[in-house]
Structures are given as structure tokens and as C-alpha cells.
């Protein structure tokens, strides 16, 4: 029974990974990737790394939804209603992919790996916890600080307020007037500036919101 589930999930993982880049609808591409992660998560649970598999599922649900939201934001064609292919250096990348696959699969088949199965699968989670808070506490703390730095950095980069005003206005200091005089109004308060800021406001909020959401992951 476990073998059947394993083979089904194995085939599903590879097929859905392939379909990610063949899908016309971008939201479907994001969720094909999610399906690939679900398959890998189930395989992880079958391997005995129960906690890891479930946490992978938990993480990827949020992450793939954010990817779908970003797809809709950035792609010309998020629903795939007008199919078009946007690839560059196609043959090179196919060759690179095949070389990567051949190399890794070659190592997998020809390499000799020790055969030491996990001895106490029921204690895997407890052992992970003990390891994280015991011997590898430094790794744990560093990962925590790295995630904090990521959150702050992502918010700082994606936030919609620049130093001098709105993000598309204020990332550079205000320019000089025509005769070299300093500007009479602050950047972002000019009439045209305001109009443009208002026009971009929806997109900035959207993008800022998306940046906030992605920065608050995990």
C-alpha cells in the first residue's frame, strides 16, 4: 500500500513539475507547483520525516498563493486566455536541464550510498526538536535572525514610501527647477506628481500589500 502511494506521488511530483512550465494559465502554473510540493511532502511523510512533510505543506500553501497573486500582478496574461509562450534561450536551457538531470541521476544510480535506515521513526520529531534547541542551537538562532532580516529587508525594499515621498517619486531627491532654482514644492505635492501618484497609488498599494504579505511569510 505504501509502495503504491509512493509511486503515485513520485510520478505526480515529476509530472506536475513539468506542467508548471507548460501551463497557459499562470494561476494554474502556481498551483501545479503546489501540487508538486504536496507530492514531495507526502513522500517525506512516507519516509518518516512526518513533521518536515507537514511543515512543507503548510509553508507551500501560503507561498504558492502569494506566487499566484504575484502572477496576476505581473504577468500579461494571468488566466491564459490568450496563450503565448515567453521563453528565451530555449535550447540552451533544455540542454542545461538535461545535463543537470543526467548528472544527478547518474550520481544517484552509480553512487554507493550506505544503507542505514532510520531506526526510530516515531521519535523523529522529538529528535529534530532536541537537535534544534540543543546541538544546533546556533543554526536555529542564525536562521531566526536571517528570517527577521529578510522580513525587515523585504518591507524596506517593497514598501511604498520612499524617503522623499511616494515610491515612484521619492526614491531620488527632488530635481532642480528649470533655471537651476530649487523646487518650490516638495516632491509628490506637485499637481502632476499628485496625479501620477494617485494613478500609481492602486498599484503601489497592491504591490506594497503584496510585498508586505511576502515579507511576512514564515
Amino acid at each position: 500500500m505504501r509502495e503504491i502511494v509512493f509511486w503515485a506521488m513520485a510520478i505526480a511530483a515529476v509530472v506536475t513539475a513539468w506542467r508548471v512550465f507548460r501551463a497557459d494559465s499562470m494561476v494554474r502554473a502556481a498551483y501545479w507547483l503546489m501540487a508538486s510540493f504536496v507530492a514531495v511532502g507526502v513522500i517525506l511523510v512516507l519516509l518518516g520525516a512526518e513533521f518536515l512533510g507537514l511543515v512543507l505543506l503548510l509553508m507551500m500553501a501560503g507561498e504558492m498563493t502569494i506566487m499566484a497573486v504575484f502572477m496576476v500582478m505581473f504577468m500579461m496574461n494571468p488566466a491564459g486566455l490568450n496563450p503565448m509562450t515567453m521563453v528565451h534561450q530555449h535550447r540552451t536551457s533544455i540542454v542545461a536541464g538535461v545535463v543537470a538531470f543526467a548528472g544527478l541521476a547518474g550520481v544517484g544510480i552509480l553512487g554507493r550510498f550506505p544503507d542505514a535506515r532510520v531506526s526510530e521513526p516515531d521519535r523523529a520529531t522529538a529528535q529534530l526538536g532536541g537537535e534544534l534547541l540543543g546541538d544546533s542551537m546556533l543554526v536555529f538562532e542564525t536562521a531566526g535572525v536571517a528570517l527577521l532580516a529578510t522580513m525587515i529587508g523585504a518591507l524596506a525594499i517593497a514598501s511604498s514610501k520612499g524617503r522623499y515621498g511616494g515610491a515612484d517619486e521619492g526614491s531620488a531627491p527632488p530635481e532642480l527647477g528649470r533655471a537651476g532654482e530649487p523646487p518650490t514644492t516638495k516632491a509628490g505635492e506637485r499637481d502632476t506628481g499628485e496625479q501620477r501618484a494617485g494613478q500609481h497609488e492602486a498599484e503601489d498599494e497592491h504591490a506594497g500589500h503584496g510585498g508586505t504579505m511576502s515579507g511576512m511569510e514564515m
Binding site: 498551483y31 512516507l46 507537514l54 501560503g62 488566466a79 516515531d122 511576512m216
Partner: protein
Amino acid sequence: MGSVTGSPGSSIAPIAAAVTVLLLLGIGIYAVAVLDRLVGRAVAREPLRLRAVLIAPVREAALLLMQQRISTERPDAQLWAFAPALLGALAAAGLAVVPASGGSGMTGSIPGMSAGIVYFGAAMAIVMVAVFLQGWAANSVLPLIGGYRFVAQALSYEMPLALVLIAAALPAQSLSVVEIVRSQHAVWNVVRQPLGLPLYLIAASGLAFWGPLNFPDGADLVGGTAAELSGAPLLFWKAARTAVLVAAAAMGAAAFLDGWWGPFIPGPLWMALKTLALLVIIILAGHLLDRVRLERFVVVSWVVLIPVALVDVFLSGLVALWTGGQGGGP
């Protein structure tokens, strides 16, 4: 999904388990529909009319099944059919780890899944995917807005939900829901973790987008993600969403109200009573409170609820260390 060693001869048990879980979900959905009407009538101070209320969900279901099914122009048909099915499957998956009695899972065929709480958390995280797909697939504006609102809401309640369940797991020194229930036999979690149950109820009503947190299907979006649904798909969507509420309430009863434990009547009946109690609280909140604004809920969730949940985890850890912890095993 058991341990690496698996368990031979358990091929018939999963089918029985699935059927039992679906039956329980069906009963739960009917119970929520009846309770919703009863509580609504009580709050509005109308006569209760028990017989009419008991028949009403069946009538509504029959009406929806007979209704004509209207579709939109160029929807994503496969995703549109997939989303309610996914939501229902997640509710069933979430309910399956909740123990009904002193055995292991709901029917004993998920033998001692050692990370039941995380499994529940993962199932409830994928609910975000299901509701977003439901909003996306209709190729229509209002469902899309509803789907986006649910993404914002889901990211906001997910952290308090996970943290509060972790706090409930701390005294048990185990992630298994069975162990969590066993660790409460002396003192219920609702007593020794007073912040836990209110936070969990808020997160649960956000999870099933019920009442004050009904952003994706709200009336200001004319039904939101359900706006373009009619007929049988609308019935399945409402049923799936109610099923998620039932699963969340059942897990709340297990994690905070000590599941099947109780003096005179058998375990599963206590479990049902405690689940119904939590359901009544959530439904009452749904009838008494207005739907809040999404921006305000997001801000409150990130700024207030997550720190409160962290305080809850900290206090729960302190109490667990102080009393030396109960239960045992991984």
C-alpha cells in the same frame, strides 16, 4: 499515513474511516444549519418553531439541487469544480485527526499519528488555496475580490491559529492530538491557558469565514466567492465551508475542552456536546457581531493577536515547566 513501518491488514480500515468522517461531517453540517437558524431566531426574539427549523436545511438543499446551474463566461471550469471539493476534503482531513474516544484517530485507523496538530494546521492552511481558487475560477470581479480578501485574512489568522495550537500542545509534550487530550484530564486547557480558546475561536471563525470575519462571501460583495454559484455547486460550497467550521470546532473541543473526557456518558457523546458548544459560541458571535472591516482585522491580527498568541505560548511553556508537564512520549 502511519509510521515508516506501516501496519499490515489496514487496507479496509481507511475506507471505514473515510465513510465515518464524511458521515460525521454530514451530521455536523446539518447541526450547524439548524443551530444557525435557531440562534438567529433567538437573537431576533422570534418564535423558535422547532419543526420548521429542523426541516429547513433539507428544504434548502433540495431547492438548490433543483435550481438551474448558471455559469459565467470562460470560467476556469476545472478549478471551479475543484475548489469546493478541495475545501470539503480538507475539512474531512482536519476532522480525521480529532479523537472521538480514547483510541487514536477518529476511527482508530490513523494509528497514533504523532504530529496530528501540525497535520491539522497544514490542512487548514490549504483552505486558503481552496477559497482563492474558488474566487479566481469564476472569471468574475466580485468573486475575485472575495478571493483576494480571503488571502489577506488567511495570512492574518494563520499565525495565531498555529501558535495557539502549539501552546495547547506544550503541556502534553507531544504533537499528537490524543496526547493533548490526555494531558488535560487534570486541568482543562481552557482554564490553564485562558488566552487560548478566545484566540482559537477568532481564528476558527476566520478560517471558516463565518460571521464577523466573513470577508470572501460577504454581503458587500453580493455573496463574494459564492456570487456566481447557483444550484448544486452553491450547495457544495456552503456545505464545504460549514464542514470546515465543524472540523475547526471539533479540534477546538479536543485541544481546549478535553475532548472525550467526561463522567457519565460515553466519550464520543461528550466530544459531540463540546463541539456543539463551541459551534453555538461561534454562531452566536456571527449573529451578534457585524462584519468588521478587513483592514482593521488585518491590523488587529498582526499587531495584537500575534503578540497575544506569543504571550500565550510563553505562559503555557512556563506553566508546563512549573508543573513538570504531563503525558509523555514523542
